[in-house]
Symmetry: C2
């Protein structure tokens, strides 16, 4: 049988599509997944019920400029950063309702009708504080514009340095009287695709709407607001939070021959944002885990520990699936000796992040891994969905699958995270890398865990 | 100034497009390149005249099935290998002229009108010989169908194992009386894009037409010919070879401060096949070299040796540019101490192939290179365009730039080798890697070369 992960990811992306927690699509996708996994003859395939939050975008949101400014059309078409610098040079043309490429951030409240306001450019937390203290944000729209540091080779480091403005920007700005926030998209590219992602409110009574703007739009707004401090934008958001809904984690399992009650869990998250198709984030991780379990079975390998491919639900905006998974493992006495997470996309594999408890063991296989170009080992393994297992028992060894990171934030949480942007061979090599690592983890005895 | 290689590659691909040696487009591209390079203030920018062969595709070629067989439509659309296996399952539908995705191989003669013939499946040279010896190829169309070994992690190794059937298939088959050849496209993918490339005739009087068929079409033909050994195909090729034409290598140069008559040359080839836009092959290599020279200047680096960004002409079907470059270097007493070639696409950099004469020197910088994820050093450097320098003087140290190879043969010599399939950040990182390596090569003293 040929590799299955690419065609299965295609089915998931093209027949189910985006699958935000609590959506009908997520539930349809879970049913598809269980049916699909059942065709491969694993020892068992089942779901774990989990209540998940249900936030909805509603009707498509809008952000537009007021009519007193003029612009040329923003250039559209792919790839926009072919001549991105031009965006900041644009003059405004007459338009009574000039739409900008922007999207609501996950978890935001909606506006009541149209909100209009002046925008205040903010490049850092200290700038927020100094502007806030002199009252400059009062009744204004805070525009967080900190860009990725492109000199960081690891794009996740660039993301980590900026994502605070997306998650906490609203709660911090509201303390200074702001009435909404715009946040520059979390991406390396300069283009016209807004990138969504989760934001959160502090425990205050006041919540304000929050949007992401495409990076090229952010450049343009930066330029415009410097020329015209009275620049006004209009926004209309129709999102809302509904009551929680019952959803599921999905599990496919192969029983261990020597330590059947000791588990090695590996997987990704099944939910995705409602832009794109969740192809890289994290359809790829789910397919890596499924294919790894399939490969090990196909080659006739009999695992010593029980192996679990897990598709956790609700990583993007709640982590309810992972939390419930760890709670049930503890309640049911399912001893987890190790866990691996793949949540960095379906790109060409580079190596693994490895927990200190596993460092010595995995290190023995470094030359094997290097022979397959997957020998880049970094100290420290982990991930959102396997974190709760570690929290419950510090002895659990965690591993992060690390593919090349250069293209990830081109598509992350954006309408471009679609199947067409996944490369078959890169995805398959990732699945093979995960299979190899699960085999390595299965070779270890874990005497620290009582049988 | 921001990185320039991506936007310049965009201009090359979108305003010039494909630029086969001897074409008007190649000459327009050279003029564009000289103008472009002149805007960056290098010490000198100039061309080297070179006579190049001139082979033309002519009117679009055709390959079609005869009408007595039936098929469903081949599925089109991207990405085809989402459900590639389906292609081999197709039944044929009524069609008097059923077009197959195929293209002429570079250097082939044309047909005189339409050629019709039965096809004979050949999977290896030994199969060719055994079928040939019993007369099975007499007046038939040899169909070479050896596929890439996908288990080879280095896709260039898979290419190397198959490309002989493309280059020599016609000359070997004609010895057994074949009247044409079809060759499976050189690619990892199963899709509907034919991949061209150079073929050659032996010094015999008989030349026969040669075409590449898309890999999915090859799968289908394999299946069909096994069901129906009398399967006939029709082909019509309109290509021809014209007299040689005067073209040029393009050079941008920075004079060395300590060893001005000692040169480090680095570049790629400017010509491309006439499918696609030559974006990865080898627009990327040309842009790597240009950007590396620009970066070193932009940071104020004063090179010890003279640095030359070279865009060689006619790598794809003649190597005239590289041959003339080496001849002129020798004639003009331009002592080349080292040379680097980038001709593996604009993908994320991995490392370098390094000549034995440079191994020790470059090895001293391994930890620096590893810090930038470009520390994978392989013994043996070289490349088609820098080979003639080495042939002239075995002491010249050669370096190959090695990016990740997984996606290269998806697009190589096909209509998909377009700018949209180049990633900005991957291209820029490649250029930075080349700049670092040129800096490393410039640090070495080369006492073996007399000043």
């Amino acid at each position: 049988m040929r590799g299955q992960c690419y065609s299965r990811l295609g089915e998931l992306c093209k027949t189910i599509g985006p699958r935000l927690s609590g959506s009908d699509a997520a539930e349809n996708g879970i049913a598809w997944g269980v049916n699909m996994l059942n065709t491969y003859g694993f020892d068992s395939v089942y779901t774990q019920p989990v209540w998940v939050p249900r936030w909805e975008r509603g009707d498509k949101e809008s952000l537009w400029l007021h009519s007193t400014v003029f612009t040329k059309e923003l250039k559209t078409g792919f790839p926009a950063d072919y001549n991105c610098e031009a965006f900041t040079e644009q003059e405004l043309k007459p338009a009574s309702k000039y739409q900008l490429q922007a999207c609501v951030l996950g978890g935001s409240i909606g506006t009541i009708g149209v909100m209009k306001g002046k925008i205040v450019l903010i490049n850092s937390w200290s700038e927020l504080d100094s502007l806030g203290k002199i009252g400059a944000l009062k009744d204004k729209i805070a525009f967080y514009n900190r860009a990725f540091d492109e000199s960081l080779l690891n794009t996740f480091a660039a993301y980590g340095a900026c994502v605070g403005q997306r998650f906490s920007g609203a709660s911090k700005a509201v303390a200074y009287g702001a009435k909404a926030v715009l946040v520059r998209s979390m991406t390396n590219r300069c283009d016209l695709h807004p990138h969504t992602g989760v934001m959160g409110y502090a425990d205050t009574n006041v919540k304000i709407p929050a949007m992401a703007v495409a990076s090229a739009v952010a450049n343009m707004l930066e330029s415009l607001v410097q020329k015209d401090p009275d620049l006004e934008v209009n926004l209309e958001l129709n999102c809302r939070t509904l009551p929680d809904r019952l959803s599921s984690n999905v599990i496919a399992e192969t029983k261990g021959s020597q330590f059947p009650s000791h588990y090695i869990a590996f997987g990704g998250h099944f939910d995705s944002w409602d832009e794109g198709e969740g192809a890289h984030d994290d359809g790829a991780g789910c397919m890596h885990a499924f294919e790894a379990l399939r490969i090990l079975k196909a080659v006739g390998y009999e695992p010593r520990h029980s192996l679990r491919c897990v598709w956790w639900i609700n990583e993007e905006n709640g982590l309810r699936g992972a939390t419930e998974y760890a709670r049930l493992a503890n309640q049911n006495g399912e001893v987890h000796v190790a866990a691996l997470e793949s949540d960095r996309g379906g790109f060409v594999p580079r190596g693994f992040g490895v927990d200190s408890t596993l460092w010595q063991h995995v290190g023995q296989f470094k030359s094997l891994l290097e022979a397959y170009n997957i020998g880049a080992l970094e100290k420290g393994g982990g991930g959102a969905d396997i974190g709760p297992l570690k929290k419950a028992n510090a002895q659990v060894g965690l591993v992060s699958f690390i593919p090349d990171s250069q293209r990830y934030f081109d598509v992350h949480h954006a309408e471009t995270d679609v199947f067409e942007n996944v490369n078959k061979r890169e995805l398959e090599l990732g699945a093979a890398a995960v299979a190899v690592m699960i085999w390595i983890l299965d070779q270890k005895d874990y005497p620290e865990f009582a049988e």
